[in-house]
Amino acid sequence: MKSRRRDDVPNPDRRRFLGQASCAAVGTTALFNTVLNLRMFNALAAPGEDYRALVCLFLGGGIDSFNVLVPRGDAEYLDYAGVRGDLALPQAALLPITPRTSDGRSYGLHPGLVELQALFAANRLALVTNVGTLVEPTTLDQMRNGTARLPLGLFSHSDQAMQWQSSVPDSRSAVGWAGRMADVLETGNCDPNISMNISLSGSNVFQSGRVSAHYTITENGVEPLWDYGGTSPGAIVRTQAVDSLLALQYRHLFEKAFATRMRGAIDAGVDFTRAIASVPPLATQFSDTSLSRKFRMIALTIAARQALCMKRQTFFVELGGWDHHDEVILNQAAMLPVVSHALSEFQSALVELDVVDQVTTFTASDFGRTLSSNGRGSDHAWGGNHIVMGGAVPGGDIYGRFPDLYPGNSLDTGRGRLIPTTSVDAYSAQLALWFGVPEADLELVLPNVRRFWTPGSGTPPLGA
């Protein structure tokens, strides 16, 4: 089928998926100067505040995303229902969406995504279709004759989750692309205790740099170290002793790492708690789910950006439990509304905070799942559909080429494991450019990106 071309888009302001940041926020060739420039730029940037945040919602386990974005027209629904068997959603239940650019087919969203349907209609949310890890553009013929260079550990959770976050599927590097950005940008932050990368879900690859380690918080912010800093005589003694223990010189690398992390956690906790306490409460109501509480804490952290002294931030939230080898229909019906509520509530909070154009939220996941059923469930596969949300997103559209779904189509490696038609590199590049990585420096953040996109080509990574 024909490739969806972004220059079909009528509004010239929306020619690009996400605009690029106007400043050279991430420089690397002359690090000091770039950071200096960034600071100068920031100082001059008033009244338009230069702040941008990327929020990664990682759907752990590999979401069956061909039941998130579903072909709805009669002909294409037949293909879908035929290959999905007992996993097919009823045609009438799909929530209709009308992409601004038509590829001739009709689409719908999973019935649990009511709020996301509204955001799509309001052009605040876009879908990117059949995205996956690729070492290089790959065809079925190349796979069959053994000449394709394939991601390591294709279809395996641990490898694919790592590669979605590192964007380097030909090595087992646990350095993520937000981590690489932070390696460069971090020195620009004025609070040395708190990384520009904040995780609501513990350790992750996405935000791990070579140098920069992410900061973790919970849905409630951070807990202080009990007794530390207390005013009783015993607490004063112990506080001094804790400080002394953590200040000792450790040669053993594990002891050194432990001391650094404990010291950083104590200090960052103090700063973070103070910053969050300085912002007024949010009027936006969030649902009583862990995911919504996490997005609420992200919104509060964004609200505290000046107290935290942040110009660029990333957030990482993982919602696990998508590895539906069984009962995919029942489980998605319960879980997708949780996602839909949390995302739309977050978007409302960003509107309330007047930063809706400065925050972009995107989904990622281990992999897509087999189109064919194993009997109420689906198995590990490859390409999948994803969501990008925010005021800067030219929403209301589907980006990339929605694949044919019938068995044996030109992307089907078996059981409906589809070769991705958009690489994680292109997907990440689009987001990184918006965040402010200059085209010239993109390879430092996404080492393989030139295999999929040529900087300076004039078309954005997801555009051609």
Partner: protein, 534 residues
């Protein structure tokens, strides 16, 4: 408590003397015994350290191999017979009861390690729904801990809790008409996580590489679809013999329903295959044998277990020695777990004393195990002799709780590298994956609570479990003696002089003996030197 331990010690001394002729008994110093027990058990008190020093590690292992098994499920069955409720909390009570009071500290230690390799988790709703089944699964690990790996892999494969967790329970044969294929979940993870791993290994655990320097996969997706066919037809062994909707029997192995088993021949690995016409269970056995005989299993399992017990970064030679013990226990038997465990714990690399030059030896203690060690080192107990500890906060506080991993990939990955000096040195440190800015604080707070309060809040005082610090308080008038004793029990005497000075300075400013003990414990628990088991 002292009497109980003294009595147990005396009994064991006699037992050890009986087997003593065969077991090489070589006394070691108390600090050596303490470090050995830190690797081989979930924590030891002062008396057990002294006793182990007298008989030596080798005799201790022989003694442990001969001990009866502290099963968990019977404790739940007792409750059920009394008509009491069984929830995952009660399963945790049973876990604590046997970890604290069971006759088999080594077996309990190894079973916990196995539960982090052959992962099932009550984070999964179905598993949470059958605490008795989960306890039965854990008991299966306990039973096989000193048996043969082949039996272990077999019993893991056929356990209905694993079947529910990795969805090969009720996995049906393919149906071309509806386009249904066998579920691939178990087929993939049994290879990737439980037996051979993703890439071909040398006998020392390092990667074999092809002519272009690339690692060589052990299997491809075609192999997985073939193994998926083998793991079809398994479901509950209920009296109704109903594959799809039958009685849920969680405490017996799954049985084969031939009419739901994929017919026809199936490929195994490395060119082998199972012929058409076998029974389903013959297929399963052939597949387990195929994995069991794969040259990867020894080095793969060796590294996994060494990482749980001794060090995050074993040398290739260490892995090779343990893999050799897996391949042949000296009497021609492959997969003997006693041989593997002995090889891990008695290896020179495990027993080498930490030196100032050893900047990467050992491992970060698993954060939850710091809680367990405190409890065992100081004989935590209540007046009722029970352990109603539900650990409701543990997943948040420690990022960890037995049998509650977030996924089949456990709480942390074997190849996790924290940003900074450890990753820069090319080293692995799995436990750092759950030691974040959040859990650094929450685990320290939880341990503080354990030292200063109780391990469980209960409306009935007599049920609250507390550390017994009597012996420590008795000597706290002498801070040096106190620090020496804690250093032996918790840190096998390896506390540096600077750390010791920090503790002594702090204790010197406090006068109340109990406050001295609690302060010392609180500081040790937050100290980097304690956190790393070297």
């Amino acid at each position: 408590m002292t009497i109980r331990f003294a009595r147990r010690g005396a009994y064991l001394l006699i037992a050890a003397q009986i087997v003593g002729a065969a077991a090489a008994r070589a006394a070691v110093t108390p600090v050596q015994a303490s470090r050995f027990l830190a690797q081989a058990s979930l924590g030891a008190d002062y008396e057990e350290i002294q006793r182990t020093a007298r008989i030596g590690p080798r005799a201790w292992l022989q003694e442990q191999f001969a001990r009866p098994i502290g099963y968990h499920q019977p404790l739940l069955d007792d409750r059920a017979r009394m008509g009491l409720e069984i929830t995952p909390d009660q399963r945790r009570w049973a876990w604590w009861q046997q970890v604290m009071q069971g006759p088999d500290p080594l077996r309990q230690r190894v079973a916990l390690a196995l539960s982090e390799i052959f992962v099932v988790s009550d984070a999964n709703g179905t598993v949470a729904g059958t605490p008795t089944g989960a306890a039965n699964y854990y008991d299966m690990l306990l039973r096989n801990a000193f048996g043969n790996y082949r039996d272990l892999l077999h019993d893991v494969t056929l356990h209905p809790v694993m079947g529910a967790y990795l969805s090969h329970l009720r996995n049906d044969k393919s149906d071309p008409r509806s386009g249904r294929f066998p579920d691939e979940n178990y087929a993939r993870e049994v290879m990737q996580l439980f037996s051979i791993g993703l890439f071909q290994l040398r006998a020392n655990g390092t990667l074999l590489r092809d002519g272009r320097g690339q690692p060589i996969p052990t299997y491809d997706n075609g192999d997985i679809t073939e193994f998926a066919k083998i793991f079809t037809g398994l479901s509950f062994d209920g009296a109704d013999r109903d594959f799809g909707n039958g009685e849920e029997v969680w405490t017996r192995p799954m049985r084969m329903y031939e009419e739901h088993h994929e017919p026809g021949p199936k490929h195994l690995l490395r060119g082998r295959y199972v012929p058409a016409g076998q029974t389903g269970m013959q297929d399963v056995d052939a597949a387990i044998d195929d994995l069991f005989r794969h040259p990867n299993v020894g080095p793969f399992i060796a590294r996994r277990l060494i990482q749980r017990l001794v060090t995050s970064n074993p040398s290739p030679a260490y892995v090779q020695r343990v893999a050799a013990a897996f391949a042949n226990d000296g009497r021609g038997v492959r997969g003997n777990m006693r041989s593997v465990i002995s090889a891990i714990l008695l290896d020179p690399e495990a027993q080498a004393w930490p030196t100032a030059g050893g900047i990467a030896k050992g491992m970060l203690r698993e954060s939850f195990l710091r809680r367990v060690q405190l409890a065992r080192a100081f004989d935590a107990a209540n007046r009722a002799g029970t352990y109603p500890i539900s650990d409701g906060g543990a997943p948040d506080d420690f990022g960890q709780r037995p049998l509650s991993a977030p996924t089949v990939f456990n709480f942390f990955l074997p190849d996790y590298q924290p940003t900074g000096p450890i990753a820069n040195a090319g080293l692995y440190a799995p436990e750092f994956q759950i030691f974040t800015a959040v859990t650094a604080i929450t685990s320290a707070n939880a341990l503080q609570g354990q030292v200063r309060g109780v391990m469980n809040y209960d409306p009935i005082d007599a049920l609250e479990v507390r550390l017994d610090l009597t012996n420590e308080i008795a000597i706290a008038s002498d801070p040096r003696a106190l620090v020496d004793r804690l250093n032996l029990i918790l840190m096998y005497g390896a506390m540096s002089n600077p750390m010791r000075q920090v503790l002594l300075t702090a204790l010197g400013q406090l006068s109340d003996p109990e406050e001295r003990v609690k302060t010392a414990l609180q500081l040790i628990e937050i100290a980097p030197e304690y956190a790393v088991l070297k």
